[in-house]
Point group: D2
Chain length 238, copies 4
């Protein structure tokens, strides 16, 4: 059983009519529902409404994969919570940063770069091409799929070279984007997935749900063993 | 259920007393036994004694992961059999090349380089360090493990840059080696693992067995979907 | 001084009026002219009109970087010439495969995959985005540049994961493509660059010329030393 | 002309007799001397004795490649100086972190991981193997070279997967280490090089000097163009 925590800043879905209509119960609940079809996944949600953003040490210790959606309130996540997340990732917790999560504190710290990119709110349509057909995150997906309306993200996306790029996004306005990127940091596996502007119910789309379920399986820690990273450091020096 | 075929040239275990003693029934049977402890794996063996080396199209179509041990008889594998293996890998079959399999026809074709390396028959002891602790192939393993007597392989190993290096080998005589290397080619996943000289029963060692079982799971095709590589090419052009 | 050989199958420019108009003296002469503005580069050309395709051992030994344009006559290059090219690349010669050169014998052997891709003759316009702004092949170029009319190439492009992707191509018809890819094989550096359909004078475009000159500098062997790959293999075993 | 700043914490060479003997004028002066043999490099030094550690904005703006040696006083570098260095790297300045610089503030921020490793002060001898013979940082070097006495560093080294590993270190006590690692972050190129414990005059060794000169050339920004990273972000959105 893979224990997922889906974190959402849960702001615009309460403030903005368009977003509220797209996600009446918040993006986190929509993603939780998407994961509920997979019998190997159990999902709880967390938002800034809870103490310590719902990301206490206990909560993180009981999380195999953390999904993160944040946008305009990144600064409201306390530095110590972000540091706690980063530490758990380095020790093996999976981390899936969605859409505007490229500017979240944990993702930026893990990348070490500006994580900046081009963007415009355009309602372009996007086509996502699978460029790694044997990768587990592409399992069950066609060679490409489309998102009817999406915020445009464009290169140069200032991230370290991903370990693997699994999707490239094509936007009708003329941009391209590395839309699905895998990274390893310490013992933890990180997946960045670009789609999911809050104004359109992108996470309810079939293919997007498949990607997220696949990514949870990919990012879940493989080990139940003595070699977790935290123990590496504490081994006596020879 | 992951369907494994374990191929072995099965020569020195019949010709040489030392090898016969290490592997009375051949290396292929020793590896089959190692895999038998995993309930998700079913393994058949194949050798050059069978027609078409036991690697007919039907056999390969029914194989999820092909394990390959060969050494001095690489040239006896017909080119069409090697090409058939390569084609299946590009279409998603996993491929695990062991030890001297670095010079086998399928591996060399898939790499595109000379695959040459330094070596000496030395009975050095080797220490394998895990350099990617979150990788599934390292699951259940300690930070390093040792092989008491092994043929020495040394850099420069003329392979393309691996997608991931999971083990680095240290040899008592002064060499280092990229001993566990992951590659993707087409939709197929390839793992090269250096240990396993035929004179010592290395494949009966506990940690080595764990690596091979892990590698089988990692290399098994993830998809049950329409996006297999062979279909990509045949899609009508837009 | 970097010694370049620019090889061209030189067929359609003699057979087809459109191509003849785009390149009256052949693509090879157009590229030679593009390189002539760089005082550190000296370029000769070679075509199948010459014995051994103009790629004798002597010619290759005197070549630091080989540029390759071929399309419909790949099969006319003798296997021994292709093998000679591959051997020189592994020993340090740079290799730049242009456009339909993805299906040339030397490139395919060096990659080890099918090198297949989607394509259509569409006269789409293409926009090339730089996704690695600090890479020497991007030097002097803007964040993106456009090619007014180009044959469409699309993913999935069946190549091994490149060491570095420096350009992503966006096509007006809906495709994306890894249009500038770097590889290392043995001691040799390989650059694949997608633009350059024979019907339009793409190689006369300013930015394209800049890319090719930059790529020549990047691919030129760095060493004047004892560590060339060929000598690695011949060193006595310790 | 490549403008190098060589930064050194310059502490133990003033406090400890062994280090003072190895480097009477400090490690920075020894490295400056090593670079003086290259007519394309001009080097200044900087230490914490100067205001803002000698790393003012003006100083960094006039630096193409920053070399960093620090060990026990990483915490004395102000956060704003470290942030300034990181920003310059992302905008194209090369950065070479030596030895214990793996724990320096700029390197750790750029990596995003713990950068932890195994170590012991052992006076092991180390053998560095070139595993990328065509890489410019290996130019002029033999297949391997040795350092008679060096502090032992061992895996697991908690860094992101390097873009390229150019040296692997073998230690007589049984460890291996990724001793020469290349990274790109933003438009900047980063090289980590493991040798150089302060107790032995490692930087005066011929091969080590060659590596550092090669690394300066590799890390120097290639561009003199409009595509520097800082300008990417400020381009008007389409």
């Amino acid at each position: 059983m893979i224990r997922v925590t889906c974190w959402n800043e849960y702001y615009k879905e309460r403030m903005d009519e368009t977003c509220k209509k797209a996600y009446p119960n918040g993006i986190h609940e929509a993603i939780k529902e998407v994961l509920s079809t997979d019998e190997h996944i159990i999902c709880r949600t967390a938002t800034p409404d809870e103490p310590e953003c719902g990301l206490t040490q206990e909560a993180l210790d009981a999380t195999d994969v953390l999904i993160w959606w944040g946008h305009i309130n990144h600064h409201l996540v306390p530095d110590e919570v972000a540091a706690r997340v980063v530490h758990r990732v380095l020790n093996g917790m999976g981390f899936i940063a969605l859409h505007s999560g490229h500017m979240s504190k944990p993702f930026m710290k893990l990348m070490g770069t500006s994580c900046d990119l081009r963007w415009r709110e355009s309602e372009d349509h996007e086509r996502l091409w699978c460029v790694n057909p044997g990768h587990p995150i592409c399992a069950g997906l066609p060679p490409y799929f489309e998102i009817p309306k999406e915020e445009t993200y464009g290169e140069f996306f200032d991230i370290p070279k991903p370990d693997e790029v699994v999707f490239l996004g094509w936007f009708s306005g003329g941009e391209v984007f590395r839309s699905g990127c895998c990274f390893t940091r310490g013992a933890g596996r990180i997946f960045y997935f670009q789609p999911g502007h809050e104004s359109n119910p992108v996470y309810k789309q079939k293919e997007v749900g498949q990607v997220i379920r696949n990514a949870v399986h990919w990012a879940a820690p493989a080990f139940t063993h003595t070699a977790v990273f935290g123990e590496f450091a504490s081994l006596e020096k020879k």
